[in-house]
Amino acid sequence: MSITSAARTISIPVVGAPLLEVEHLSVSFPTSSGPATVVRDASFRVDQGTTLGIVGESGSGKSMTSLAVMGLLPRGGTATGSVRLFGHELLGRTDRELRRIRGDRIAMVFQDPLSSLNPYYTIGVQITEAYRAHRGGSQAAARKVAIEALERVRIADPDRRIDHYPHQFSGGMRQRIMIAMAICLEPDLIICDEPTTALDVTVQAQILDLLADLQRQTGTGMVFITHDLAVVSRVADDVLVMKDGDEVERGTTEQIFTAPRAPYTRALLDALPRIDDPFETLKGVQA
């Protein structure tokens, strides 16, 4: 199969196949003390227009799972198992093949926005380049799309700020710039890795609404990684709970929040600090 035809067939969904199906995904890294498996046997699926929330302990492999889906694991990392987009296997494809999908069909909002933006280029350049790579067209047209996207993520004065550099924005603004970058191509799947950690609750609510609107309009599927259980309960249709690289529990959001089975999930929900009761000392979660 030639490269172009391989890439083209990926865009034709296999009948009945879900948007994203991950089966028995494992990720490991070589370390000085032998290979370390940071994700073990994770399986989940995301249908069009739905959101999968991934919650779990810090370091439990949430980011690595999403990077494995994108084929962007750090140097040395290897993924085994199966990742299928519309029924087409993505694992084991070359960078060239995946290039057609990345940005266009699957977009990702990375966890650490400052280091994820190139300090040498204005955000305008960084938003428009993705658009132009996949849609072509003039710089002016791409710029218009970018300004619109910035406006949607509530960056004030977008036609001026588009020419600013990443370091001239606040942490939460950079996070929203990453989101703008992801949504301006209206991909089939958006993977958001802790996209709202620097957003105050009012802007956060606006951004979550924006994503929900997008989902309604274009049927975008979402993987939403967060540690904020209240946010997950709001946005997710299904939830995957991870700990130490293992899948602890998986189910519909309602099921996870009303009838959690795994002790870890229960402990998480118990330990959740509530705005209404100021504990002096937090309960914490016993592993």
Binding site: R99, D104, L117, Y120, E129, A130
Partner: protein
Amino acid sequence: MLFYLLRRVLAGILVLFLISLFTFAIFFWLSPDPAVQICGKTCTPERIDQIRSQLGLDLPFLQQYWQFVSGIFVGRTYGEGAGAITCAAPCLGFSFQTNQSVTDMIADRMPVSVTVAVGAAVLWLLAGVGGGLLSAVKQGTGWDRTVMFGALAGISLPNYFVALLLQYVLVVQLQWLPFPHAASFTEDPVAWFQAYLMPWLVLAFGYAAMYSRIVRTNVIDTLGQNFMRTARAKGLDQSLVMRRHALRPSLTPVVTLFGMDFAGLLGGALITETVFGLNGVGKLAADSITKNDQPVIMGVTLLAGLLVVIGNMVVDVAYTGLDPRVRVRSA
């Protein structure tokens, strides 16, 4: 920005002033009496006194220094009456050896040094940046090891050794090149090229070795940055990812280095010019040092200082243009 430039210019002037004062002081106190040197073998005490007063060597230090500095800006006149010699600004005095104006001597030789520097710079940028990129992208492969071995050789082999080796191989053994001799570009471009080729190669080798190592490290560091992952996540093609996202962060620090190296080289490549018999500023410096020709040494030193100061300034301005994070701070 203007304020910043002004401050840089003032700082540069201060540096040049200190350099000149320092070199002048060294000659004043530490070197043998130039009048004796000029007077030669058939010398009388009267003649020495005469030379001294004509050159102003009998004056106290500060006064002599003042004469020297004002000579640079407004010119000066040696001696009095009919025997007086005028020296137009910028006057750096006359060589003790040849009696030529130092300014003219330097001006005569500048083109050679500039040719050497420019040619070498082009070569070493191409080879250094190209080699560094290649070995970073092909990290751990045979390409990488080959380039890095070459770089190690370039760094550890002394300049004159490479020069002699090259001369031996290309001229004596293989006879691909004639023995270098000065030739003008307009009269005989081929001979001109042949004369400069070896100096270019020799100089470029050393610098390219250093640059390829630096570029390699920078590129590898940049490739590991999170923003490179973002660029790939956008589905940009590999060459755009490299050209746009990796190159600029990796090469920006090299600009500083290049500015300084190039400026330094414009002031003459001492060893290379001497080995290949090129009459550049470097050779002039070497000759004047062996003959203790003080005005010439002073002139060449000041020139080198001036070039480095200017180079430094250009680099800083270029840097604020290249790195947006610096740009805003200095604005």
